[in-house]
């Protein structure tokens, strides 16, 4: 795959205040790369440096064989599009007009759109799937819809590279998933180089081609999610009190205070849910542990129920209540 942008010994930061030192990295065409790291790690500074909003303190950023600092604003605007984290305050224009602003690097002095420009605008709107919103006022859109409109604007810019600064912040969970999947699809179908910063760790691990991990103590580490997990790097970056990386599921889990062990017998869906509930309230469970006995009964007709102390319990909730009463004795 083609390298779109390359960083050679780049130090990011502001006037004599380095934020991240000596970055050597590159982004590939056709890949969705996620930049992860805690607040204050320097994610935004790195994105701003890559977008040429601020110059690197040292080192070179190479875009299509040329040093970023030697590229004119107009050419740069045809190579890199951005979607920023701060929402535009008032946007009293239609989605179509907003997307059309993305044609600025191509239009003439007065910004008149030609047929070809209109075609690109149409295509960009279709690609993010907001055809039905095209005449809606941007002010009336939901956060997710507005984010899609801004992504369409970036697409209308027809750049190889798209940088997004926390595009999933402020969104509800289904919208986060939708935006991530959309960006992945654009990377694959259009061969774009997509680089986004995000706090949505688990989503990023599930969908990104590459992960850039960044923080103050460890610096920058790059790899595919599973390699980073295997090397224990995800744990290093994100584990802290109460949060543990589960190497078998490849996901982060909340660590609960341990209260004890119970003996859980049986199998099936109800069994799995009971096990989950027990874990949530602080009990490990196994079929051969010593202690309180819970049994999952599976009837011939497929009916499942919990048996405890010789009586059947109507729900998992009643089991939890029973255990809590036991604790207080």
């Amino acid at each position: 795959m083609k390298t779109s942008i390359e960083l050679k010994d780049v130090t990011t930061g502001y006037k004599n205040k380095p934020v991240t030192d000596n970055i050597n990295a590159y982004l590939l065409a056709g890949e969705l790369t996620c930049l992860l790291g805690p607040n204050g790690a320097g994610k935004s500074t790195l994105l701003k440096t890559l977008s040429a909003f601020i110059p690197p303190l040292s080192g070179e950023i190479i875009l299509e064989g040329k040093n970023l600092k030697n590229i004119t604003a107009r050419i740069l605007a045809r190579s890199i599009a951005v979607v920023l984290t701060n929402r535009p305050s008032t946007m009293n224009m239609t989605v179509e007009e907003l997307v059309a602003v993305g044609r600025s690097p191509y239009t003439s002095f007065f910004g008149a759109l030609h047929a070809a420009d209109k075609e690109v605008v149409d295509k960009s709107i279709s690609l993010v799937g907001i055809d039905d919103l095209r005449h809606r006022n941007v002010n009336t859109l939901s956060d997710g819809e507005r984010q899609k409109a801004l992504i369409a604007k970036a697409l209308a810019q027809q750049t190889q590279i798209i940088f997004l600064d926390e595009p999933t912040a402020f969104l509800d969970y289904p919208s986060k998933v939708e935006i991530m999947k959309l960006l992945y699809k654009i990377a694959k179908d259009e061969g774009k180089t997509i680089f986004m910063s995000t706090h949505d760790l688990e989503l990023a691990l599930q969908i990104a081609d590459k992960i850039w991990l960044l923080d103050k103590t460890h610096g920058l580490h790059i790899g595919i999610p599973e390699d980073l997990a295997f090397r224990g790097l995800l744990g290093d970056y994100f584990e802290r009190g109460g949060l543990r990386f589960n190497y078998s599921t490849g996901q982060f889990e909340i660590e609960h205070d341990k209260k004890g062990v119970v003996r859980l017998k049986g199998s099936g869906r109800l069994h799995d849910m009971v096990k989950k509930a027990l874990k949530r309230i602080g009990y490990d469970s196994s079929p051969d542990a010593e202690g309180f006995v819970i049994e999952i009964r599976n009837e011939q007709d497929g009916h499942e129920y919990i048996e405890c102390d010789g009586s059947a319990l109507p729900s998992i909730e009643s089991l939890v209540a029973k255990l809590r009463r036991q604790e207080n004795l």
Partner: protein, 329 residues
Amino acid sequence: MKFFWIILSVICLLIASLFIGAVHIEPGQVLDALLRKGEDDAINFIILGSRFPQAMTALLAGAALAVSGLMMQTMFRNPLAGPSILGISSGANLGVALVMLLMGSSVTIGSLAFSGYVSIIIGAFAGSILIMGLLILLSTVLRNDLMLIITGVLIGYLTSSIITLLNYSASAHGVQSYIMWGMGTFNSVSLNQLPVFAIIVVIGLVLSLILVKPLNALLLGDDYARSLGIPIKTVRNLLLLATGILTAVTTAFCGPVAFIGLAVPHIARMIWRTDNHRVLMPATMLVGSAVALLCCIISVLPSAGIAPINAVTPLIGVPVILYVVIRRR
């Protein structure tokens, strides 16, 4: 369609302002005077020497003030920005006061020699550019909308304190002509001066039309605009120049006309329901002309004679501003 109606209104108001005046003249006589067939020299003078230049001045000054208000609102990303409230007019005011009161000329602009009113225009231009530059500098520090407005109002107080000092040491006649000028009028441009006034305003308006494309990009914020290849610094300087020229020339000739610059862009937004400058810029010009002509007509309605224009503009401006403030809450 909306443009058809507003153009029609402007034409009607333009014609009406020729027929309606402080002195009652029969429509037939007005037509005769316009077609240069009139035999009554007094009526000829009123129509061609007073009403016609006044109507043209209102047409041009209205467009000029409204457009500079629009550009300031976009540039400062502040719906309450405008030449008068941000103290730009006060700056022009100060420049004019310095020229009028210190040059020892005890006459109004209407009867000044060419060198006299050129120096007044230059004074107004220097004053308005100075304040605009100051505000642009401060706007990088003052992120808050309200702070900028308060700063503008404070600058207004500061300039008026200097003007008070100037007035204190000026001749009685100088003070009177300055106060008359300060009330605002569209009746101060003579037929001979009209071409100069018109040329300067048209230059400013053309400059504004050229800025339509960058203004649209600026709606998304400075960073987005830059990523779209817009040279922010150049655009800011051009905006400074355009608003400076337009505010200065209208203030120099017509006095500090309040509210048109602030209110008209909002009226245009209410009618066209867009921030897209390709629509909003010409719309604002036309509505500005219409409102100024309307104010002009209203100002001659009182039977006692001609009311100063600043006695009329708040009647239109204040409700619009209240509406904007209440709706933003």
